[in-house]
């Protein structure tokens, strides 16, 4: 009941409002086939407002005209108003714990982006430009910038096969994100990596993990080790190049290089340690599946 309602609400919004905010068109339109040049004003605005119960009532009225029986009409409107209230309460409660706007940013992807990102994950050696592009201080959505982190790929690829395997992997993700946050805090690295960014970057290893396990199942033990080596190298390269832009100070800036307070080699250690940690975890979590 949740899913069609959510999709219905999404399409009702641009129709119901007089002047739809530009954040809508970026997040909900399908831009897979659109040319990249037409995004002159369709950028993600951080102040995107999710609560608009009045729009849903208008949208609900459009459907009710199909019913001729007034009792069914009344029941339908009552039911939809109850559902709206429940949804608003749930949204309010969730909005207290984590910002839903930031979460939406991570899922604004399209098929072109997903394909390109998977290619970069498996074969990052030819990718030239790793800088995350910005637009007036807000990072671009993954649709417009291949280097932006997303949560769609990690969600698709996270291991839900076995219950114990999944909870073990979940525990490791939590531990890894906490350790990264702790080390970034201790070394007072003033980067714009939010918690969700770290979750996104940690989740990319699942692509390699699934690929490795598949090769191990198809081609036996040798295939497993070959795929493990390949995805480890690719993943290490990917993580180092991606995090280098965020954590290490940019060399090309002006002479005021006091953006980093800690010694640069400590930051380098963090990046390299994160990169080395990934293949270790992949091996740890999947080796017992292939033996």
């Amino acid at each position: 009941m949740d899913l069609p309602h959510h999709g219905y609400r999404a399409t009702a919004k641009p129709r119901a409002r007089a002047a739809p905010p530009t954040g809508d068109s970026v997040l909900f339109e399908d831009t897979s086939s659109a040319a990249p040049g037409l995004n002159s004003q369709g950028y993600y605005t951080p102040g995107y407002n999710m609560g608009a119960p009045s729009n849903d009532m208008q949208g609900g009225a459009n459907v009710n005209n199909m019913f001729t029986d007034p009792m069914a009409n009344a029941a339908m409107m009552y039911g939809s108003s109850l559902a709206n209230q429940g949804k608003d309460i749930v949204h309010k409660e969730i909005g207290r714990f984590m910002s839903v706007n930031k979460l939406k940013y991570f899922f604004a992807v399209d098929t072109k982006y997903v394909l390109k990102k998977l290619m970069i994950l498996m074969f990052p050696y030819t990718h030239q430009d790793w800088e995350v592009r910005y637009h007036r201080d807000t990072p671009l959505t993954p649709r417009q910038d291949v280097n932006a982190p997303d949560l769609y790929i990690p969600c698709k690829f996270s291991p839900e096969v076995l219950g114990l395997c999944a909870s073990t992997a979940l525990v490791w993700v939590i531990i890894e994100v906490l350790v990264m946050l702790l080390s970034l805090y201790l070394l007072t690295v003033h980067s714009d990596l939010s918690t969700f960014d770290l979750v996104a970057y940690s989740g990319y290893k699942y692509v390699g993990m699934i690929f490795t396990v598949l090769c191990g199942l198809l081609f036996g033990s040798d295939g497993y080790y070959v795929a493990l080596a390949w995805s480890s190298c690719a993943l290490m390269f990917f993580i180092v190049r991606s995090l280098k832009m965020k954590i290490l100070p940019s060399i090309s800036s002006d002479s005021m290089g006091m953006g980093s307070s800690a010694k640069p080699q400590l930051r380098l250690y963090i990046t390299v340690a994160t990169a080395v940690f990934q293949p270790i975890i992949i091996y740890w979590l999947t080796s017992h599946l292939v033996r």
Partner: protein, 82 residues
């Protein structure tokens, strides 16, 4: 090594308890990690030691009361269910 979510929660409770029992006068000042020794440099380079001390102090301040509740619940549950 099969971890469960429950073991993560247990480890977290134990770690936070360990940080919370570090006494200010008797222990932290003796080893030079007290509150009065962290004011130090105003600048943009606090350093690792000052960050650690701030972290310990803030964890102790924030988690004191919730830890009482969480520990009581844990004790009752362990007594009942072993």
């Amino acid at each position: 090594m099969a971890f469960t979510l429950y073991s993560l929660i247990q480890a977290a409770i134990l770690c936070v308890n360990a940080v919370a029992v570090l006494h200010e006068e008797r222990f932290l000042s003796k080893i030079g990690w007290g509150v009065d020794q962290s004011v130090g440099g105003f600048g943009d380079e606090p350093g690792i030691k000052v960050q650690m001390m701030n972290l310990i102090r803030s964890v102790r301040t924030v988690m004191r009361v919730p830890l009482i509740a969480v520990n009581s619940v844990c004790i009752v549950l362990l007594l009942l269910f072993g």
